[in-house]
Symmetry: C2
Subunit: 386 residues, 2 copies
Amino acid sequence: MRQVAVIGIGKTAFGAFADRDLRSLAVEAGEKCLADGNVKVSQVDEFFLGNFAGPSFVGQNHLAPYIAGAMGMTGIPCTRYEAACASSGAAFYHAVASVAAGLNEIVLVTGVEKMTSQTTPKVTEILAGAGDTCGEGRAGATFPALFAMIARRHMYEYGTTREQLAAVAVKNHENGAKNPQAHMRKIITLEQALKGKPIADPLTVYDCSLISDGAAAVLLCPLERAHEFTNKPVKVLGIAQTSEQVALDQKADITTLTAVAAAAQKAYKMAGLTASDIQFAELHDCFTIAEIIATEDLGFVKKGEGGPYAASGKTRLDGERPINTSGGLKSKGHPVGATGTGQICDVVQQIRGEAGERQLTRNKIGLAENLGGSGATAVVTVLGAV
Amino acid sequence: MRQVAVIGIGKTAFGAFADRDLRSLAVEAGEKCLADGNVKVSQVDEFFLGNFAGPSFVGQNHLAPYIAGAMGMTGIPCTRYEAACASSGAAFYHAVASVAAGLNEIVLVTGVEKMTSQTTPKVTEILAGAGDTCGEGRAGATFPALFAMIARRHMYEYGTTREQLAAVAVKNHENGAKNPQAHMRKIITLEQALKGKPIADPLTVYDCSLISDGAAAVLLCPLERAHEFTNKPVKVLGIAQTSEQVALDQKADITTLTAVAAAAQKAYKMAGLTASDIQFAELHDCFTIAEIIATEDLGFVKKGEGGPYAASGKTRLDGERPINTSGGLKSKGHPVGATGTGQICDVVQQIRGEAGERQLTRNKIGLAENLGGSGATAVVTVLGAV
C-alpha cells in the first residue's frame, strides 16, 4: 500500500445560513479545497461525498453527481457515503484506502449537511434515524436521551460529575470563540453550563452540540506525488473504520465506545504509534460525555478517568494534549455529514501552523475521531507532519 | 490488481410485503448469500450496503451497521452507498475494487429497499429526489415525466414507436412470469401494453417499472481463493462506474445515456471484450425507453436502432442476445436499492445454469447495467464463467 497525503482542505463556515442551499455549501468547500491543493476539476479521479440525511433535510437525493456536476466534475465515480454522523469520516476512510491501494491518484472527499431549514423537533426526529427506530425511537428516545443514559451510567460506574461534563463545554466554547469559522463563538462559564436549560437529565443545553449547516472538503493523493501540488502536505499516518451494534440495549457496556477503541488500536498500529504519541485531537463531542468517553477509549487516560481529565485543564489549548482546538461539535457546530471531513481540515490546519489564535506549538501528530450514532460506527485517523 | 470472483448470491423475492421490514429483507438476502458461498459471518472483512432512500421510506438511517449487527457482523467497516437507483451497483463496484486492490479478502454487498409502506404519490415524491429537485422537481416533473421526455425525443430523432416500447414490456413480462422471485408474474399482450393507463405520454403504466420491496446480496473474494468456498465461482471480467449531470436540461443529448456509454467502454476494455461478445444482459429498464437506449449505448446496436432491435425478437429468451431474462425492473420489480445487486445475482444465476425455465444455453458472458436517476450514475459489469 502507498502512503497517502492530504494536499488540500476547504471549509465553509459552520452556522445557520438561511440563504444557502446544500449544494452551494458543498460546492464552496470543494472549490476552496481544489484551489488550496492546486488541483483542477479535470484531475480528480473520484468524488467521495459524506452526507447523512440530505434527502430528509432538504428533499434532494443522488447528491454525489448532483454536487460534482455543479463543480463541472463528470465522467468519474461519484458516490454518497452514509454512516450517520460518521458519514464523511467513512467517505474519507474509503478515499484514503483507494489512493493507498492504487485505485486512484487524486480524490476529493466532501462532507456536507444542511439542517437549519427544518424545525428543531423535525431535526431531532431525523437524527433519531441514526439510532434503532424500532426500539429506541419507538420508545421515544432521542439522541440527547441516549447520551443522557450513557452519561448517567458513566457517573454511576466511575463517579463522573456534572462539573466534569460542563468543563468540556466551557473549554470547547473557549476554543470556538477563537475560531472564525465556528457556529457559536461565545465564551461560557462553568456556572452557566451547569445551569443550562435541561434537555435530558443530566445533560443541559450546554452539553449538546449544535444544529448547523456547513461543508468541509479534503483532497488526497499519494504521498510521493504530494509535492507536485503543495509545499505543505500532511501525511495520513494511520486510519481505521469499524462498527458495533446500533441499539444501546445490544451493547455489552454503554460506558465504552467499543468501535472507537477498536478503530484506535488499528490506526495506532498502522501508524506505529501509541496513544501517548498523540499531541492533540479533534474528538466527536456530539455531547460532552462523548468527549470524556472518547479520551478513555482512545487510551489518552484509563477507563473511568475521562471526567477528572476533562476538568484538569490538560485538554485545554495550553494543556498537555489539547482537545477540540476548533471548538468541537459543541461550539464549532455539527452539520452532521460535514463533521468527519471538518475534523480532518481542523487537524491539518494545526499541523500546517494555520490555526491563528488557536495555534499549538506541539502540532506534529494529531488525531480525529468521528462517531456515528451512539457509537455503531467509528472512524479514527492519525495525521502527521511530513 | 487481483481478479475477483462472485462466490455467493442471495435474494429475497421482490414484491409488496406488508409483513416484512427493511432489515429483515436485507438480513434474509445476506444470510442466504453467506450460506450459498459457504462463508461464515466472522470471515467477512467489510460490509457494503446499497440503499437509496431507507430513511425516507421507513425512517431508519445508519442502515449498514443496523443490518450488519442483526446478522452478528460487528467490528468491521459497514457503510451505506447511495447513488439513486444505482446504489447497490455503486456498492458492488467499490466492493469489487477493494478486493481487486487487496484491501479486503471476503466482502458482502447487500442491496435493499422497502417501498410499499408508502403511498404511490409519496413514493413518487421520494423517487423525484434522484432528479434535480430545484429544477425538474419544482417544475412538477416526476420520473415518469422525465423518461417520457426522453422517449418523446428518441421518437422524434429516430422514429422509435410506441409499439417498440411496448415490445420491451411484453418481453419482460413474459420472462418475469417464469421467474419464481418476480413481483408481477403476468403475461401481457402488445395490445394491452399499448392500451395501458397513460402515466406520462407516451408512457403507459406498462412502460413503467414496479414499486417493490426486496433485497439481493453478493459475496466476493479474490478469484485465486474462490475454490476454497465454492465449485461454481463466477468471474468479474470488467466493471466501471461513472457519472454525468443530474438534470436533463444540463445534458448535451437526452437520447444518449452518456454515463452508460462511458462505463461500458471502460468495462469492455478491462474485460478485453467488445459489445459483440456479450451473450446476454440484465439492463436497467426503469422505463421501457431506458432498455431501448441502453442497447444503443452499450453498443449492442447503432444509435437509433434500439427500437427496431427491441421489436425484432432478438432480445427475447430464444433470441440472439436475450435481455432481462429475469423479467427486468418491469416485471421482476424495482426495489430501488436492491436493483444493482439483484441484476448481478440474475446474471450469476444464468452463468451457473440455475435459471430454471429461463435458462440460456449461450450463458458464458453476461452484462449488468445499473442506472441512477435519469442517467447521472451508471455502473456496468461484465461477468463470465470461470
